[in-house]
């Protein structure tokens, strides 16, 4: 953990006490620019070693022209670290769920951790909010998003890495998956016509329809939008606060504030670890609630 803070401090060391108003024309970047560089996506991965040299890896630019537009599918920092977290997740789960020869069930420490989380997702998130049948059915999906968000976040707080879920495109894709599944589950349980007809709660006077239909359609879109923004903002906010706390030393130009800044940054770092777990839980439980709401007959 302290290694992560040192890494962040090294990145900030490139930003000596310059006023934030200074433009990027100079050699030194302002604190805001350094923080934004750290948060934003780019095609370059930087590795600032504590003993001096700085390694950089720039991915090639891949652009596919489609008509007048250009589809940019270049590998970026966030994509790279998303792949790393996915591979790590795959490895951990495969190790955790494989059983040794001569044993009838998987066992071992990794299995215990994975099983605890899976059982938690199944019993406390899926079944409790969606009912026995639907909950069992959607547990694989909910486990997938739970572990994906968890691993992206946990990889993101290691030194030199980036948080894939701190990219709004990633969280929007996750929310879109939930949105599509919500509509699918609703239409499957109530029929295509029944689902869309029941969007507006039955029993309200007909003259309220012009008001209720847009409101309900808006509510449909707001849910995935809120999921997107919540995860994105939570993942970014922690990093920004840590960087600014450490950056205080360089902005004020004195090491006297270093103990306070580093101590606070450490506290925020611990808080961020908690926030990663909470956000994975919140995203999963809200997905379960939305899917369960759409699939249930009683509104």
């Amino acid at each position: 953990m302290s290694a992560a803070l040192i890494a962040l401090a090294l990145q900030l060391a490139a930003a000596p006490g310059s006023p934030p108003a200074e433009s990027s024309s100079g050699e030194h970047k302002s604190l805001v620019e350094v923080v934004m560089d750290h948060i934003a996506d780019s095609r370059t991965i930087e590795l600032q070693t504590p003993w001096g040299p700085k390694y950089e890896l720039t991915f090639p630019e891949w652009k596919i022209p489609i008509g007048a537009r250009v589809l940019d599918i270049s590998i970026t920092k966030h994509v790279f670290w998303m792949w790393v977290s996915s591979l790590l997740l795959l490895a951990v789960v495969l190790v955790g769920t494989s059983r040794r020869k001569g044993e009838s069930v998987p066992a071992g420490p990794t299995n215990n951790i994975i099983e605890t989380f899976v059982l938690f997702v199944r019993d406390d998130i899926a079944v409790r909010n969606m009912g026995e049948h639907l909950g069992q059915e959607f547990t694989p999906y909910l486990c997938t998003i739970f572990f994906f968000i968890l691993f992206c976040g946990l990889v993101g707080v290691l030194p030199f890495t980036a948080t894939a879920t701190g990219n709004i495109a990633v969280t929007a894709s996750l929310a879109l998956c939930t949105f599509v599944l919500t509509q699918f589950a609703g239409m499957r349980s109530q029929g295509v016509v029944g689902y869309w007809a029941h969007l507006v709660p039955p029993g309200i006077p007909w003259w309220l329809y012009p008001l209720m239909i847009p409101a309900e359609l808006l509510g449909l879109v707001t849910k995935p939008f809120a999921l997107t923004i919540r995860l994105f903002a939570n993942m970014v906010a922690g990093h920004v606060v840590i960087l600014f706390l450490l950056g205080m030393v360089f902005v004020l130009g004195t090491t006297l504030v270093a103990p306070v800044g580093v101590l606070f940054a450490l506290g925020i770092y611990l808080l961020e670890l908690l926030v990663i777990f909470i956000q994975a839980y919140i995203f999963t439980i809200l997905s379960a609630v939305f899917i369960g709401m759409a699939a249930s007959h009683a509104h």
């Binding site: 809120a226 919540r230 903002a233 909470i278 919140i282 439980i285």
Partner: protein, 82 residues
């Protein structure tokens, strides 16, 4: 006055962003505080229901937080106005 107009606009954007962020966070703080108040009282009166109350509290807190983030996004858009 004409020459300082863009600067004035920028200043007002920053002002709006700052005040807006503060107001949004006050609102969310009050909301989550009331929520916690209710949850604590509920758990105090019925410790057996603590698990359910915790789940519902977290969900509702997440919803309050989501609304707050909408406001903060607007503030960030204002603050990054050039």
């Amino acid at each position: 006055m004409h020459e300082s107009q863009p600067l004035w606009n920028l200043a007002m954007a920053y002002f709006g962003a700052g005040v807006g962020a503060g107001l949004a966070i006050i609102g969310a703080g009050i909301g989550i505080g009331l929520l916690a108040n209710g949850a604590m009282q509920g758990i105090g009166r019925q410790p057996a229901a603590a698990g359910n109350i915790q789940t519902l509290t977290l969900i509702t807190a997440a919803l309050v937080e989501g609304v707050c983030f909408f406001a903060l996004i607007v503030c960030i858009i204002l603050a990054t106005k050039t």
